[in-house]
Amino acid sequence: MKDNPYLPQLARIVTIKEEVGGSRPIKSFRMQLLNGHRFDFKCGQCAMISVLGKGESMISISSSPLERDYLQFSVLKMGRVTSALHEMEQGSIVGLRGPYGNGFPLEQWTGKNLIFIGGGIGLAPIWSVLQTALRQQNDYGQLSLFYGARTSSDLVFKDELRKLKDTLPVYLSIDVEEPGWTEFVGFVPQNVADKKPSPDNAIAITCGPPIMIKFVIKTIQELGFQDNQIYTTVENKMKCGIGKCGRCNIGPHYICKDGPVYSWAKLKTLPQEY
């Protein structure tokens, strides 16, 4: 089975948590492989989730590789496959193949301050890095997190974020004023500009809607971050996950294989076809 890159392994959904309701719902699914094997991966890598009969979707893994009990995927309901996934129940079986992609170069970040900047569902790939860094805090400098969404109810991992505040600076934001909201109101890049994180010995890791990423990069460049201090992830439509089906490329790079993690120094040299 292992030799066939298109064959999924079966996995059971062990828990489902509703993160966000409303018209753009997000749920977190924790899964275990049925065969009891471990699914080894790196922070920032993705997996192809199959809902048999509906198709496959490439989703980033939001749990830490150090978490041995489950794999977590936080999924925005967007199309055919993710809608089917959202309708599944605890105990349902899905297919998994992967992991795919390059992942974040955590080994290069030892001793550095890590600044996480996420928007909306874009917190998911960052969350894997953040959880890993938290468990190995001695390996890194100061950790901090900027995270925003359109409204307070669109924020994912609400409980975890509340707890996280005891451990590291967490700067939350929402796009427009809401009664009872005591934190920043405005877009994520504005919050970053307001708090002015220092570029000294720092790495900024940003993920979110393309427009947010664009302005976050502009903002932190103004704060003095160099291109090789900025990391982000990109996404495109994918089918194979192994650089063959031809649809996720940006220039010579296949995001499924050579991405999805890029330093801005690299990404800015590639065509903007994402």
Binding site: S23, K77, M78, G79, R80, T82, S83, A84, H86
Partner: protein, 343 residues
């Protein structure tokens, strides 16, 4: 004879005066003198326009394409588009007008008459030249076609080289135009439905075998759909996903999009694709024959459409694209409509 210099002059004038945002016409292609469709936007380029028997493309397609392109633009250029139209192209324009896909003032029509000739069939020419490449193909006298091969002039009878659609066509003159070039010559095709009748004379089993052999070859490259000016739907039943996705489209709406057919080029799916397309073209197809011309597998797509064209004529005395004001066939009911096919 169509004087191409007149067409060029008008195109140039329209562009110079800024009356149109562009002229869609034919210019020489790169291989062996076959014309290609081209959008001319600079007046001096109007000199490149050509009119010869290789002007096979139905340019009404580009009216559709440009209309869709404009819909995406924030500040589209509202000036009309000028288009060279043959008889069949102009009939397609009429259907677009009739279905209110475009308004009359969106186009300036430079009508060209095919007179007593038409456009050639590349396969026939290739066959007659035994693979040699034609350097130039032009209209000769009395509807004859002149083909220059290795600087030698060869003259062919239209029956030998014209596309079947032209041999069976009686709309050799544009039915709607703002300017026209060339003469209006009455043409009565000897037997426009000969091929349909021949097929109908076969047994059911033989007909099924014929269509199975045709459909089995389909690669589902969708060239027939892509080239058809009548296939303008934003959302086609054969597409697995919806193109009409807006930021407000919900996941449920996308997930509920019914997959009518599989993408796999299986015989069953190919049949569904071509039959659905044919039915949707009933009373709309203007027999420009482009679907069959572009098919890389040489599938007799036109024959399917021709059959429905004859049904429309026989049952409803209806010919598509002849009157932009007439009610369209399948969206109207008349008490005199035959209904003996309903039990």
């Amino acid at each position: 004879m169509v004087k191409i210099s007149d067409v060029r002059q008008e195109a140039k004038r329209l562009l110079e005066k800024g009356k149109v945002r562009g002229v869609v016409g034919y210019v020489p292609g790169t291989r062996g003198g076959w014309a290609i469709p081209y959008l001319i936007q600079e007046a001096e380029r109007a000199e490149q326009l050509v009119w010869d028997p290789t002007c096979v493309h139905n340019l009404a397609l580009f009216v559709v394409e440009e209309k869709k392109e404009q819909a995406k633009q924030k500040e589209p250029d509202k000036r009309p588009l000028a288009v060279m139209v043959k008889g069949c192209d102009s009939r397609a324009i009429n259907v677009l007008l009739q279905e209110k896909f475009i308004n009359r003032e969106e186009v300036v029509l430079l009508g060209v008459s095919c007179e007593n000739s038409g456009v050639v069939d590349r396969r026939k020419i290739t066959h007659l030249l035994h693979g040699q490449q034609a350097g130039e193909i032009r209209f000769g006298d009395n509807g004859n076609i002149v083909v220059v091969v290795n600087s030698e002039r060869r003259i062919f009878d239209p029956q030998e080289v014209l596309a079947d659609r032209c041999l069976e066509c009686q709309y050799n003159f544009p039915v709607v135009f703002d300017y026209f070039y060339g003469e209006k010559i009455k043409k009565t095709p000897p037997a426009p439905y000969a091929q349909v009748e021949k097929l109908e004379s076969f047994s059911l089993e033989k007909r099924r075998q014929f269509w199975e052999e045709e459909m089995a070859r389909c690669l589902r490259c969708y060239a027939c759909r892509s080239v058809c000016p009548m296939c303008y739907c934003a959302e086609c039943v054969v597409d697995p996903i919806s193109f009409a996705v807006e930021p407000t489209t919900t996941a449920e709406e996308k997930a509920k999009k019914i997959k009518w057919i599989e993408k796999s080029p299986l015989l069953s799916e190919n049949f569904v694709y071509h039959l659905v397309r044919a039915i949707h073209l009933a009373g709309r197809c203007v027999d420009c024959g482009e679907c069959e011309r572009v098919c890389p597998e040489g599938i007799s797509i036109r024959l399917l459409n021709k059959k429905l064209e004859r049904e429309a004529l026989r049952l409803f005395n209806y010919v598509a694209g002849t009157d932009s004001q007439a009610p369209s066939l399948l969206s109207t009911f008349q008490e005199t409509d035959p209904e003996d096919f309903i039990w």
